[in-house]
Amino acid sequence: MTEDQLLRMATREEIRQFYHEEYKTREIPKYITKNIHRREFAFDRIGKGPRDRFNQFRELKYLERTIKAKAPFAAYSSVALYDDPTKRSGWDGAEMVFDVDAKDIPIRTCNCKQGEVCPECLEQAKEIILLIRDNIQELGYKNIHYVYSGRGYHLRIQDPELLQTNSNFRTELVNYVLGAEVPELTGELQHFIIPFGYSKIYTNWFKYTINHLDKNKKYPGFSKNLKNDIIKRKELVNKNQWGLVRGEIKPTRYDKITRSIAGIHKELCDTKVSIDLKRILRLPSTLHYKVSMKCTAIKNIETFDPFDDAVPNFIAK
């Protein structure tokens, strides 16, 4: 199997073949099947996005029948539970999701063109998801599940106290976990002086981002000079010589970097997905036809490799 056979678009025929020959609903995670009748399901039937919405299935076998019969371009289920999914009424909580899409990582180190993904950026997406996970666990959340979406990763948090929170809270949580705002500190304090709490999270992402900047790429909020000045001091950053970095770059320009970096952090995942209380997400077990990969519920994120664990048979053969 060579690289260019991977990550290509599936034909209509291959999609049908996938659903007829190898599709298994038992690959849908339990957290979806156990309350299947309370979730909204949606399908992309003609390759133009999930237009067939508001579907409800009382039992798994009906979902299976529909998916096999329709062999849809894509299938989705809601992160929310409803009393009546066919009207999306009686909203009763929603999982909180972090969605890292390899093609949208603002600091990709690979040479992918816009819209493309490759093994390298997929690996980076996983790296980012794991960093997000660490920060979420720091806040004490425990009930975390992962899904390989085909072009990136979903992290789904299901701790009960989170399910009922609204979009304000979720925006705050995203900003916190991603270090997407410059810490507001009093007086002479700087984020790097406080190695705990939110400042620590921000500083860790700061390091990660600086280490993934590329001299030859453009980043919003960075002039060429500003970008080169900080890249030049990457080693100092890695050695935690922050005072030196800030002094050499000059405090006002350093402040500018802290804001631009925060802006990059905010793009690391798709914030819209995280704050949407009625979002639909690609259904694990189904096919992402644009890359011919299986959207897969992940048992062990550390060892998961999409090219072993998420390749459909029609490609693997």
Binding site: G140, E161, N166, I193, I194, G197, Y198
Partner: protein, 434 residues
């Protein structure tokens, strides 16, 4: 100092209320109020001798501060000697706003802002011990989790990254701070670090807790209203709230527009008169209405956001205010109803066929794009849906290519609103009228 200096709902404050007795007493003359004012350091002389008058003074203070005017006439409002009168007037104001206008009203928001703006000053004058004691009237400072205060974040009263959390536990006390973090503080004095990190957090938290309580208190009052008749004095204060509001707002607006507009300093974060000469070609075209096909896009999706932001908040893209509400910029909705809506409706009526003739429901869609959800243009509906920001050129070219007939100036911009902002400044420089 006591916790009742900050907290109008603690046990001490409630005792004050009980001892005061009947609320109608607030219109009685209390000569000692004036004595205290006279004795407050650096206080301009003033004659106030009832708690009722104190209520009105508070609102005036709020607007004075809003307008960045001198507040030296209001120093006595933070005096500990007036603590009891402060508590009583706070309750009177909350009751008056809740009873006369309801909790979702602009007036209720004004009162909440009035009270918290006074609280802010007091918090800066408070010792750590009093702050801890007051916090303890709401939460257990030794043992509070994120989940305990999750509502404050849901309601936007406080930001998550303002909180110091260890796992899900809030670190508020010096003991907790040292236990968790002393190993990281080798080169610094722990007391100083604690002060620097935790004091501002505690202020924010206390402010948020009290604000939340103010809102809940108003809700209780509003519900009780169904059973009991409010005292006339409270209704009187209610009417006075609106009067002061109108008078003070006029002052603010005069300050803003009274002078000749200075073109070198555009204030794009505030309402600004239309400069139609600076509208981009697409907007000019849309204002003349279009023929069937794409009328909804043109009027509701394209023109409505453009005209509302251009008039109320042209600088939206330069700022990063999340989810602005139209009432943040136009609280009385006068500009919206008297200037923006008429322009939109006029363009709609110039379409062929006139848009509302066959699609009357489109009016509702326009309201929802302005953020009023499924409701009418009313203060309490504002923010039910997002206030749509103007569509960019790329989308217009894709969706409604006929609208876009770019001119020279279009090369420099990606959004009609940026066109408008840039062009206004160019016109101003070249001496064009504005």
């Amino acid at each position: 100092m006591k916790t009742s200096y900050l907290n109008p709902f603690g046990q001490a404050a409630l005792n004050v209320l009980k001892n005061f007795g009947n609320i109608t007493r607030i219109s009685q003359k209390e000569p000692h109020i004036n004595e205290i004012i006279t004795n407050t350091r650096n206080q301009d002389p003033k004659k106030i001798d009832t708690i009722q008058e104190l209520c009105y003074e508070k609102i005036r203070y709020y607007y004075t501060r809003q307008a960045n005017n001198k507040t030296s006439g209001y120093k006595y409002l933070f005096s500990q000697a007036l603590e009891e009168e402060d508590i009583i007037s706070t309750h009177a104001l909350l009751q008056a706003a809740a009873i006369t206008y309801g909790t979702q009203s602009y007036e209720a928001d004004t009162i909440i802002n009035t009270i918290t703006s006074i609280l802010d000053v007091k918090l800066d004058q408070t010792t750590d011990t009093i702050m801890d004691e007051t916090l303890n009237e709401y939460i257990d400072i030794h043992n509070t989790t994120l989940n305990d205060i999750i509502l404050l974040i849901n309601n936007n009263e406080i930001k998550l990254n303002e909180l110091l959390l260890n796992k899900d536990k809030l670190i508020l006390t010096y003991d907790d701070f040292i236990r968790e973090y002393s190993e990281y503080l080798q080169h610094r004095r722990p007391e100083n670090m604690y002060q620097a990190v935790c004091t501002s957090m505690k202020k924010h938290l206390l402010r948020a807790l009290i604000t939340e309580k103010l809102r809940n208190y108003m809700k209780t009052i509003e519900n009780k209203l169904k059973q009991i008749e409010p005292a006339t004095i409270i209704t009187e204060i209610g009417h006075q709230i609106k009067k002061i509001q109108n008078a003070e707002q006029e002052m603010v607006i005069k300050r803003r527009y009274g002078k000749n507009v200075n073109f070198t300093s555009f204030d794009d974060d505030n309402p600004t008169k239309y400069i139609p000469e600076a509208f981009p070609p697409c907007v000019q075209k849309a204002l003349h209405g279009i023929k069937s096909g794409g009328r909804n896009y043109c009027i509701s999706l394209f023109l409505t956001p453009f005209l509302s932001y251009a008039r109320l908040y042209p600088g939206v893209y330069a700022r990063h205010i999340k989810n602005p509400k139209i009432t943040d910029m136009d609280p009385t909705l006068t500009i919206t109803e008297e200037e923006i809506i008429p322009l939109i409706y006029e363009a709609a009526s110039k379409c062929k066929p006139p848009l509302f003739q066959d699609q009357p429901q489109e009016k509702q869609n326009i309201n929802s794009k302005l953020g009023f959800g499924e409701g009418e243009i009313k203060y309490e509906n504002s923010g039910k849906t997002p206030w749509y920001t103007p569509i960019n050129c790329k989308n217009i070219k894709e969706q409604q290519p006929g609208l876009c007939t770019p001119c020279q100036d279009c090369k420099k911009i990606g959004n009609p609103l940026s066109y408008y902002n840039r062009k206004r400044k160019l016109l101003a420089k070249s001496g064009g009228k504005g």
